[in-house]
Amino acid sequence: MASIRTCVVAAAALFAASTASAQSFDLPDSRSGGKLLLTGGVSTIEGSGGGGLATWATTTGYGAEDGIGANAHVTFVDLPDYEFRSAGVAVGLWDRVELSAARQEFDTGDTGALLGLGSGFTFTQDVLGVKVRLVGDAVYGQDTWLPQIAVGAQYKTNDQGAVIAAVGGQDDEGTDFYIAATKLFLAQSLLVNGTVRWTNANQTGLLGYGGDLDDDRSAQFEGSVGWLVSRNLVVGAEYRTKPDNLSFAEEDDWFDIYAAYALNKHLSVTAAWTDLGSIATFEEQRGLYLSLQAGF
């Protein structure tokens, strides 16, 4: 929890810095704020730019090809039997490269005792990500069907190797690779994203990587749609498939419906109703997802 608190402080500091950025970053080759509101996406639970559960091909923040952008986020998901927290930072460089770091805490709360782990037992996962935009312009390329396409990798480490091994997990670290395609159909005010992720992570890595059923990476899909209600507000839904590597507990696909509201280019809020299915034998983990993002 201390780490999350540190990240909240970092987010506040970044927000403070961003309000000064209009002056300090006004250099010819590093202008901030070149993108239009919300077109940088928000922060996923893994720290990369995108929706909430699904990573997009967009680079985080409001820097266009002539600038840099950055974001800090904190996310809470309140589930019937668990609590999930995530905090992280991400930088977008000239709308080409995105670097991200996130710390996730999967808090078993009272459920920890029922699982034999002890009350309040928490898995902590760190995610380091890199994303590179290859081709396309999701927002301005309105006369072509070509979406914005990016490839990326996420290196993940989990601090509970012993527990992971005990439930059949094969590793306490893993790497996901993905290719993402994002397109804004501006005339229809509709944003569409599709991502294929090669991963062997159990519950995105919160329960380790690889399992007694399957240790190899498989191709998984994550998709988002978003409808632009106004310049500040987008509502939509996401779906994310996941492997099912562990015999002790079935793993379900994830789903959410969300609303992301940007107060301005420095602060946005995402609220979602999310269905994370069965997690470690506890069924129907559905609840409120709330995320704050600050940056420029």
Binding site: E65, G141, Q142
Partner: protein
């Protein structure tokens, strides 16, 4: 007799529009290098029908939107410099023509192509982003619904390739 009249009519047909509407030398505007006048210079195919033109409240509404966009732009420290060396009289006229033409209005576009008009400006993506924000604000002030705004912006967006040169 008949031949002379035809010839005179033909001369008038050619000369009159050129004299009355020389796109490079309208009163109050600075001269620009010669170019071929064509609707294709507008850089986007117009909407069919007049629904979009009407949604923008016709030429009067479009005039207010262009003026609102440019008034905001020259007051914006991010991009004000871009307009300091610009012939604003001509820019206001040609943008009003361009927007009206693309939105399905009855009049032609007589300005230069987007590439021709921007190749010396050295604009960056953030300049275009700022201009779009001012256009959005002006359209909102005119009462153009958000989703109608986006249909128009979708026509303008690909011009980024010609507008942004560095």
């Amino acid at each position: 007799m008949f031949g002379k009249m035809t010839l005179a009519a033909a001369v008038a047909l050619i000369a009159l529009p050129a004299m009355a509407q020389d796109p490079a030398h309208r009163p109050g505007e600075e001269a620009v290098d010669p170019y071929t006048v064509s609707d294709a210079n507008a850089g986007a195919a117009p909407f069919a029908g007049t629904a979009m033109f009407d949604a923008f409240h016709g030429q009067d509404g479009i005039n207010r939107i262009v003026d609102g966009m440019l008034d905001r732009s020259v007051a914006d420290p991010r991009i004000a410099l871009v307009f300091e060396r610009t012939d604003m009289v001509r820019l206001r006229r040609t943008l009003k023509e361009q927007f009206a033409y693309i939105l399905g209005g009855p009049s032609p576009y007589t300005g230069r192509s987007m590439q021709d008009a921007h190749d010396d400006l050295g604009l960056q993506p953030a300049d275009m982003g700022a201009l779009v924000e001012h256009l959005q604000a002006a359209m909102t002030e005119e009462g153009v619904p958000f989703h109608t705004q986006n249909r128009f912006l979708a026509k303008l967006a690909p011009m980024k390739r010609d507008v942004v040169t560095r």
